[in-house]
Amino acid sequence: MTSNPPAIVCENVWKTFRLHTHQKLLRQHLTSWFGGPGFSQFDALKGVSFEVTQGEGLAVIGSNGAGKSTLLSIVTGLAKPDKGTVRVDGRVAALLELGSGFHPDLTGAENVYLNAALLGFSERRTKDMFDDIVDFAGVREFIDEPLRTYSSGMMMRLAFSVAVNVDPDVLIIDEVLAVGDMDFQAKSYGRIRDFRQAGKTFLCVSHNPKVLLDLCDRAVWLDQGEILMCDRIKYVLEAYEGRAAHAGA
């Protein structure tokens, strides 16, 4: 394999959350300014470094609270790292939460346009892709109905369909595919495979080892904000499952 340039470079990324950030009322701000109890801190990511080369599929695995979603939100530029740098090459489409950026009162069609605009695509591009998006999602009959009448599966299909059809260079998915039915899951895995074959980069979080083996080349195992292991997907999954079994015994 010729060495492709990296699409995502994460260098020594730290993210610390202050606990009690729910203090948002004036009274609480005033007491903390006048020497109230300090903040306790929680390190969600402790010096995470890895690279994803162009055309590669990388899975991030780990137990709940390991920092996977925080990592994805820093890679997509939603949150700032407290230390370190993330560099991403190319246009990113991220599906981090079911229907983020969708509005329940808008119709399916209006949401497609809104979502494409949010992802950074032009109006003309969206118009050209519109039929493909709707057909792939299989919601043609409901496209002029308000989104609040959609089932969560339909909503996910539409969101996924927008994200893959606008043809990003890097696709980032956090777990959301689990909602679709078997047919749609098979269809979307097929689409991700095509996407990978076109030399695009894929980064995902999932708890489904079969899917990960199929779609990713390598995996990063995060545990309490640190990388425990970063290797071929097979080895990492074996080690991860071994530990899970060990913990269960």
């Binding site: 991403v88 809104l114 949010l118 695509f121």
Partner: protein, 276 residues
């Protein structure tokens, strides 16, 4: 072809690090702005059976009530009372509504901010801009009342787009500033609500500028809504150009407001993710 697109791809590299405040989002800004404004419109008007008509009904009802109070109860000899009043109510309504909705915009769009990498500045700005349809309808109403009551149109109406643009800039600056504050201190929106109540009386809506005691007049001109009301009345009722001093003050206030808004917003936005 492929080579070119790869080259372009390479150039669209984005960096996320603690010091950098530039958004990683690249894309079609006009389309994004249009989509977000359309979203606001649709969400606001879709569930009302009278839809956009409310934008017309609301000031008409207010106009009726105020006219009753200020001509039948408090005797009032001012000619063209309806036009006089609308020149006060329209700018004030727009200001109060935009300031309020701009302030809560970030918190209300928390889902968007936490999950989509759009430039954060665009959220308060679209929330102000999406009130412009409402404003357009009210200005049309003013125009109709002007024509019906026999006030004559004059060449100085051409100043209106300029002073409204300055006003929009001022409000966008304030929306940026207060939206950012509201993320950290959620009481901000109640402060804005109260401030709007106070402003309602401190803006010359029911009284002419000439009744304000001399020592306060200068301050009034720095109040962006009062200055706008004053300029509107000079143009619409007195048929002369707004004074250069007034225009300078409006410009000054809008520049300061925009600069302060963007600066504070930039300082505060790295923390939005963990505070929303």
């Amino acid at each position: 072809m492929n080579g070119i697109s790869q080259l372009l791809t390479r150039e669209r590299s984005s960096v996320n690090s603690p010091g950098k405040s530039k958004s990683m989002w690249r894309g079609d800004y006009p389309f994004l702005l249009k989509s977000l404004i359309l979203k606001d419109f649709r969400v606001r008007y879709r569930n009302m059976s009278l839809g956009v008509l409310w934008s017309l009904l609301n000031p008409l009802v207010m106009l009726g009530v105020y006219t009753f109070v200020f001509t039948k109860i408090f005797k009032n000899s001012s000619p063209h009372w309806a036009v006089f009043l609308l020149c006060g109510i329209v700018p004030f309504n727009f200001f109060a509504l935009s300031w309020q909705s701009g302030t809560t915009s970030l918190v209300e769009n928390a889902g968007l901010i936490k999950r989509v990498a759009v430039p954060r500045e665009i959220i308060p700005i679209t929330s102000v801009l999406s009130n412009c349809l409402h404003l357009g309808i009210q200005i049309a109403l003013l125009l109709i009342v002007v024509l019906v009551t026999g006030v004559r149109l004059n060449i100085y109406w051409l100043f209106l787009p300029l002073i409204w643009a300055l006003e929009l800039a001022t409000i966008c600056g304030m929306a940026l500033l207060f939206a950012a504050l509201n993320v950290y201190v959620r009481d901000t929106r109640y402060f804005v609500e109260s401030a709007n109540l106070v402003l309602f009386w401190l803006v010359p809506i029911f009284y002419p500028f000439s009744m304000i005691p001399a020592q306060f007049k200068n301050i009034y001109q720095y109040n962006p809504v009062a200055a706008l009301v004053l300029a509107m009345r000079e143009i619409v009722l007195d048929a002369h150009a707004p004074s250069a001093v007034l225009l300078t003050k409006l410009t000054l206030v809008s520049v300061v407001s925009l600069a302060a808004g963007f600066l504070v917003f930039r300082r505060m936005k790295p923390g939005f993710y963990s505070h929303l």
